[in-house]
């Protein structure tokens, strides 16, 4: 800001004194922290200042062998034999420990991933605990989840999670797998391994039998070893559609089950009769939550003609009040981009958008010099044939189009290879039913956006994935019904 402000907010950084971080993290296999067989480590950095936080052991083929073997042993010897009520107790214990250490987890999540502390504190960590609580409750009640059927666990589950919600995704994956009696080898994303390693400490503290949960770090290679391991009974993956396709090919014919949560390009639809100011807030929340690193982000905005000028003007004004900067500051709305690789991808798409003739508008915020940053961005004058309208950018970049009729916007919303989520804003209930029934997407929010609950299944149509997570639907992905 160049203009002198009458009243500014002083910095309000969350303290980091209370967190406990080691310089080096090993693999968590069979209840113990052990180095990788070949002794390799890689750095994990803070994307807001590019400083190294810690180094993390990189799992190779031999380590995956060990992890899967320990998971298999734990499955056969203890976990699948244990009374479900007892399994539930362990999961409750994890949930409670996570709540007790919520502040530490929030700070570490923000340091490792770049997201604002406001989000890790108010969304990521509480929701992660909620997932453990919810699934702990199911552990001894599965016969009620699937009336008239008995359930049996699948065995050893390989789980691969993304970097946008590292702890929360670990919870989404681990909680239902454990509640249903499976054992797990989990691989966090290579840019955000730390909260998973802290979770491993909690799992150790909760005294979970050794081998029930194993956590191995590494990039794509490590993931490949896991996906292709013969003793894995199911792969659960959240990440890009490209990797999802690779996994589908790899497990074809192997008898392995799989659930995939992949990309998205959600339509967020604003009708003329919508509560405009609240809809503008909804647009902000839909695209700028977690810097747009959200698979269900509302990245395609459709505004009905009559209110388009008003909505865009108000959106631009509102964007100026977004505070971009130090993710640990309690007033920060938009933090750092997760990695250099992701920043480059966002820049590539924004250039493409301009080259294709889109009209760009970015906020006037000043960005920190060090670290990976990108200003909130919107594009107008774009159409269905622009690549920034078709492809997932996974950043704070919104593509705006206008529409006239309900049918037109439904057609346009469905005109995408993805179908993960969507939003509709109108004062009229009948319109909500019409639109939500006709749009092919896993979740459609009405007069809100990005709301999550452990009891609500989340999953996609088309290239957005296979299967669901959360709720009874999510449980069904981890059991055989007999």
């Amino acid at each position: 800001m160049t203009k002198k402000q009458i009243w500014d907010y002083s910095p309000a950084p969350e303290s980091t004194d209370h967190i406990q971080l080691k310089d080096q993290y090993d693999l968590f296999i069979n209840g113990e922290f052990i180095p990788a067989v070949d002794g390799k480590y890689f750095d994990t950095i803070n994307p807001s200042n590019e400083k190294k936080i810690a180094e993390v052991a990189e799992a190779g083929k031999a380590d995956i062998e060990k992890a899967v073997a320990s998971a298999k042993k734990a499955y056969e010897k203890t976990w699948s034999k244990m009374h479900p009520k007892e399994r539930g107790k362990y999961i409750y214990r994890i949930a409670r420990l996570l709540q007790e250490r919520a502040r530490e987890f929030s700070v570490i999540e923000t340091m490792d991933g770049g997201k604002p502390i406001r989000e890790s504190r108010d969304v990521d960590v509480p929701l992660a605990a909620a997932h453990f609580f919810y699934h702990a409750g199911w552990a001894d009640k599965l016969e009620y989840a699937f009336p008239g059927r008995a359930t049996e666990p699948l065995g050893v589950v390989g789980q691969i999670i993304p970097w946008n919600f590292p702890l929360l995704m670990a919870a989404w994956k681990l909680a239902p797998a454990l509640a249903t009696g499976n054992t797990v080898v989990l691989k966090p994303a290579e840019t955000t391994p730390l909260t998973a390693m802290k979770l491993a400490e909690i799992i150790q503290e909760a005294d979970l039998p050794p081998g029930v949960v194993n956590i191995v770090n590494g990039a794509g290679e490590t993931g490949k070893f896991l996906v292709n391991h013969g003793d894995i009974n199911k792969i659960a993956f959240t990440g890009s559609t490209d990797v999802g396709k690779y996994i589908m090919k790899s497990v074809a014919g192997s008898g392995k089950k799989y659930t995939l949560e992949l990309g998205g390009k959600a339509a967020n639809i604003i009708f003329e009769d919508a509560p405009i100011d609240q809809a503008v807030e909804g647009i902000i929340n839909a695209i700028f939550f977690n810097q747009g690193h959200v698979c269900c982000a509302g990245s395609r905005l459709y505004v009905q003609e009559g209110v388009a000028d008003e909505v865009i003007a108000k959106l631009q004004k509102r964007m100026e009040s977004l505070i971009v900067g130090d993710p640990l500051d309690k007033n920060t709305d938009i933090g750092a981009i997760n990695s250099k690789m992701q920043l480059d991808k966002i820049k590539m798409y924004v250039k493409l958008g301009k080259d294709e003739g889109g009209k760009i508008h970015q906020t006037a915020c000043s960005l920190p010099k060090k670290g990976y940053w990108f200003a909130p961005t919107i594009f107008t004058d774009v159409s269905q044939s622009n690549r920034i309208v078709q492809e997932e950018i996974f950043g704070p970049v919104l593509a705006i189009q206008t529409f006239r009729t309900v049918d037109e916007v439904i057609t346009k919303a469905n005109n995408s290879p993805y179908g993960l989520s969507g939003g509709v804003w109108t004062d009229k209930g009948s319109k909500i039913f019409k639109v939500t029934q006709d749009i092919r997407a896993g979740v459609i929010w009405a007069n809100t956006f990005n709301k999550f609950d452990p009891s609500s299944p989340f999953g996609g149509y088309k290239e957005s994935g296979v299967g669901s997570e959360g709720g009874i639907e999510g449980l069904s992905g981890y059991v055989n019904l007999v």
Binding site: I6, S10, D277, Q278, N447
Partner: protein, 299 residues
Amino acid sequence: MGTINIQKTKSIDQVNTQERVSRLFSRSIKKESKMQALYLALSMIDLTTLEGKDSEGKVKQLCYKASHLHYKHPGLPYVAAICVYPPMVPIAKKELAGTGINVASVATAFPSGMADINAKLDEVKSVVDAGADEVDMVISRGRFLNGDYDYVSDEISQVKDACGKAHLKVILETGELVTLDNVQLASDIAMEAGADFIKTSTGKVSPAATPPVVLTMLEAIRDFQIKTGKKIGMKPAGGISTAKQAIQYLVMIKETLGDDWLSPNLFRFGASSLANDILMQIMKQSTGQYQSKDYFSID
């Protein structure tokens, strides 16, 4: 009248408004910016006494306090105005002479507004003649809820004319309007009819100034400015008694209307006990310790 003004009324979603309020109120205001905010809030107060038992002496004390907030802390701002019932206007005017502090008077059969228009206009003229710089009127809520918007609008216009040079604050009494849609519509009517300020409540009806109501009115003010270029002031009143609430409202103004409104010219708090809580916080910020309430005069 005569022109047909067809415009869709904007709808307001209550759940999302509450959510937006929570987000605004979660801003963390510390250190330097907290001190600045406390000073700013003090300067925006309409120090108010509106009771049937008000006495000449009480009004005098209030007026003295308005320019002598705390002797141990020199450099404190004065409050913006003193707000009293019509018979107290001459006393307040005399006591505040030379301070630059305004005298505001409620009028138009405050707080119910149940009187005929001529009686209301006479009352307004008499307080203006007595020297009131600002007039706080109430709208006819019965007529509004009955759908007689023209009546409400005409009444405000006539009061505005009767005000002459005095500034007009229009009290919507949002606690009786019930829905945010009504709050928005009443705000629009008041601004179109000539209000200089719109104000939430009389303080005599519960709920008074709730955060969603204030946000809705601020958004109406913003939209009115976009449409007409005019800047209308805002005054939440009733139930604002802590420094924390005051700072939260400052955040709400800053992020909804911008820095121009961070001034007593465009924003006021109608409050009786708020000043002392702010003073207590200022002393805490400068000494590091909380003092007992007994160290702050209760006038």
